[in-house]
Symmetry: C2
Amino acid sequence: MTSASTRAAGSVGVVETRYADLPAPVPLDCGRELPVRVAYETYGTLSPERDNVILVCHALSGDAHAAGQSAKPRESARDGFGAEDRDGTAGKGLGWWDGMIGPGKAFDTDRYFVVSTNLLGGCGGTTGPASIDPATGRPYGADFPVITVADMVRTERALLDVLGIGRLAAVAGGSLGGMQALQWAVTYPDQVDAVVVIASTHALHPQGLSWNAIARDAIMRDPDWQGGRYYGTGRRPDAGMGVARMVGHVTYLSAASMGDRFGRRLQSSADVRYTITDAEFQVESYLRHQAETFVRRFDANTYLYTSRALTYFDLARQHGDGSLAKALESVRARALLIAFSSDWLYPPQASREIHDALRALGKPSELHVIDAPYGHDCFLLEEARQTPIIRAFLGLDENDEEEAP
Amino acid sequence: MTSASTRAAGSVGVVETRYADLPAPVPLDCGRELPVRVAYETYGTLSPERDNVILVCHALSGDAHAAGQSAKPRESARDGFGAEDRDGTAGKGLGWWDGMIGPGKAFDTDRYFVVSTNLLGGCGGTTGPASIDPATGRPYGADFPVITVADMVRTERALLDVLGIGRLAAVAGGSLGGMQALQWAVTYPDQVDAVVVIASTHALHPQGLSWNAIARDAIMRDPDWQGGRYYGTGRRPDAGMGVARMVGHVTYLSAASMGDRFGRRLQSSADVRYTITDAEFQVESYLRHQAETFVRRFDANTYLYTSRALTYFDLARQHGDGSLAKALESVRARALLIAFSSDWLYPPQASREIHDALRALGKPSELHVIDAPYGHDCFLLEEARQTPIIRAFLGLDENDEEEAP
């Protein structure tokens, strides 16, 4: 028997994103129906019993490429605080959760078959606002229907049907990905054995609503947004989306971690240079860099639609007539909730509320609040500390015998 | 004898903003000199000995109209969380700190002569980016020199010279106003008896730098900003400044107070309406309203220059070779520091650092951290709880005999 701690965690290797056209339009909460193509990747091997599937759901700015090296050169979707420079992975096209998915990792591909999709409305291959509307032959733009987390989950359900997968051993995700996991447990209680909900919430608090509203307004106030119909015009709302990204980025970090990393260090070694337009502090330059790299790889309308969906998400309102307990009554999945002490965008309190509600209903739930400094980004950064918790929850470390030499 | 608590606090009445052209250009930190007109108001009566003067300094979005009713109709600069609706003062043109300045109030005009100026670079009558550059006959715009808090204080010093005032009994202000008070104590140690520094800091932390950088970028990325030369073009960067204001506004509040006031209440009583562009949540509508009212009364370039000045402010760097203690060595004024528990933009820790440094130097300092929920805006809202602290610090309540009937 080899313990998880002595076995080197490996990579899923080079992977390619695949695409599936769903056989029927997806019915949406808004009342419309949408023909959908889904971009997805899989890691590991589907068991003959098809009982080892974990669906991984990404957050606002992610995509289907969650693990391994991309077959094609691409801009990384690794968004963690300093992800590019902390491990020299820039340019290698590693998936956004590569540290968590692979042989010997938290979502262990030696045992599990991991499916990762780009969410509905995305810009990573799944149908979204930039896709061609078959009714007009032009990109949807602002005619794309307003979508919800439940719509994303319906789409994921339909893709799994295409892949011949009925049951899920687990659904896992952080932030908006965690909302999808919760939605799975509520919408398909008989099809999910477990959910892993990280740095997430049952309903974003009003300050979080505000940051999202400001980010969306920054995009929509950019004249290059053109009412959402900017595709093919040669102009994109990069200026506004850059502001949106900077707002988002600061909310993903903690004040303390920004202090540790940047302090008030100036760009020039000497003194301030008395400039309004140029970056004077290193943190100012860092934020602009974040904005620049993000607008190159992300579609502004996807940002709008995805941000709207995550602000709408409200289990109590949508499924419990205002009561979270009532909304969770149908849940049959075991729940693992992980939150981070310094996460002020998705504070631990929301995870605690879910945990308490599940426990009060007599349902199995486990809550871990990890004391860590990096704010909301912890779910992308604190891989080492999440791994043993997730492996234990998934019963991984008791079953290593079969893989021992 | 009438105690402060039984005497009704009154108003300074109807006031008019006055203007003074400084006799000589103000020398600036950036090396340039600037001819300056200052807008100011005064409340109360200057004593024959000219020893009862309190200078009040405003924050980013304030102006010279700190107390009383404006003689002319105007948009209020009362920016406190819900200031407009909490006391029915909308449309009455009350000064931004009317609750704190007047007969029987914290800055008691029965005893003190209060001077309030619009800061250098402002848009409330003092020379700023929208003023005419005598060299060109056109508004400065982006040619306005980059200014510092020390430049603002030099300007205030020059105005007081014009008014024949040498010594100050106190300099008081919140936020950027508190920075000015600290700067007074450092630059003119022999001319200031006391400083009242509220919800302020000796140097803004990196997250605060970030919010300011994002707000400035939102303005500068608006094509209507036109490199700062938008005056007379018929186009102003209202869209970008609206975003800047919304960012600022959220940082002035606490997450808890936003939760209490707005929750996740929808604009429509029924359900969400599946819209990207319209406000769905009440807090979204509130933020847009804040943006709209602000852009009507405030100049975007003043926002840029003032924001830059407050991010530059760093007593340790500018006056202590990196040491706050060294920067404060020259201070002779008694210090009163007030901070608010929920203020995450100007957290109590910064006030504590100033207090500790002053005490370690053997200088008189008093620190009060008020437990209050409204975030940074507390300095505009928690008037009742600041008043006894300030009155006691200014020795007001021992001296009521002379005013008793």
